[in-house]
């Protein structure tokens, strides 16, 4: 049952990523060229609505609907190097492959098979991070 709920949320996410064109390589290129408001509108309105809903969840101390536990959002670490360096590397890849992890899955379902190459190399990249983790500045 729970798996089905999360699977359904995923379907909604996949449909939205495709229909709002966030998964399009072209839209990512256009965003970094500042040629269109589209991507900024999507991200901006998502953050605006997201902030509003998280604020309300916290204000009314809403409990998790599935198990009644307190809703807790994991804090991020109080450092900056990993976020900046990791962020820059991610950005380089995002602008090149035109796909971040969510859209990778969407594009796979939409039948763009070369995305498998992106996905496998993203897994390799994740593995390499884990391998060199202790040697990297965080």
């Amino acid at each position: 049952m729970r798996t089905f709920i999360y699977f359904s949320i995923g379907i909604l996410f996949g449909v939205v990523l495709f229909k709002s064109e966030v998964a399009s390589w072209f839209r990512i290129y256009e965003m970094f060229q500042f040629d269109s408001f589209h991507m900024y509108g999507v991200i901006g309105s998502a953050v605006f609505c997201g902030a509003l809903s998280l604020f309300l969840l916290k204000k009314f101390q809403v409990k998790s609907i599935l198990d009644g536990e307190e809703i807790r959002i994991a804090p991020k670490q109080n450092v900056w190097k990993r976020y900046l360096f990791g962020g820059v590397l991610f950005g380089l890849g995002w602008a090149l492959a035109g796909a971040c992890p969510g859209p990778m899955f969407t594009l796979l379902g939409a039948g763009f098979w070369p995305v498998l190459l992106i996905l496998f190399s993203a897994l390799l990249g994740t593995y390499c991070y884990g391998f060199f983790r202790d040697k990297l500045p965080h």
């Binding site: 798996t3 699977f7 949320i9 995923g10 379907i11 996949g14 939205v16 990523l17 709002s20 064109e21 998964a23 390589w25 970094f32 269109s36 509108g41 999507v42 991200i43 953050v47 997201g50 809903s53 998280l54 969840l57 609907i65 198990d67 809703i71 959002i73 670490q77 990993r82 900046l84 990791g86 962020g87 590397l89 991610f90 950005g91 380089l92 890849g93 995002w94 602008a95 090149l96 492959a97 992890p101 969510g102 969407t106 594009l107 379902g109 939409a110 763009f112 070369p114 190459l117 992106i118 190399s121 993203a122 897994l123 390799l124 990249g125 994740t126 593995y127 390499c128 991070y129 391998f131």
Partner: protein, 186 residues
Amino acid sequence: MLNYFLQPWPWYIGGPLIALVLFLLVWTGKSFGMSSNLRTLCSAMGAGGKVPFFRFEWKRQSWNLAVAAGTIVGGFIASQFLSSTTAVALSTDTIEKLYVFGFTDAGQSFMPEYLFGADMLSQPKSWLLLGMGGFLVGFGARYAGGCTSGHAISGLSNFQWPSLIAVIGFFIGGLFMNHFILPFLF
């Protein structure tokens, strides 16, 4: 109405619906982060044998794999049944710039044929570019502890300043690639 639904959705529909996904995941006691699935998949494939970073109870993350599986199915449904056109209505400036790169399908298709078409299999350069891009996305997302969903959407919505640093990083890297490296690659 249906006709409108089958057209590409404007930003003011897409953005709030992404926020709805964030809301549903938080409301059910989870979090919004797609790149975590890459770590989970590495663990599931046995990466924990050699690297401690992948030694965790990955099965507790199976809910997120279900989200990822749904995302795949959602992409299938949207492209097969919910789209009267998959052409992306790009700005004319972008279409002109991409034309110079030789991307003549800009504005007419969802993805560039050069990188994602059937012929790309015979183009070693396309392999290399997608492979490099994917590697950087995977490495960078884990290094930064999140991707667009975890930092740009979830983190900024929660006013977490580390996420703001990560998003600034995304744009430093993205702008550099887009303006200074891509022109030399195509």
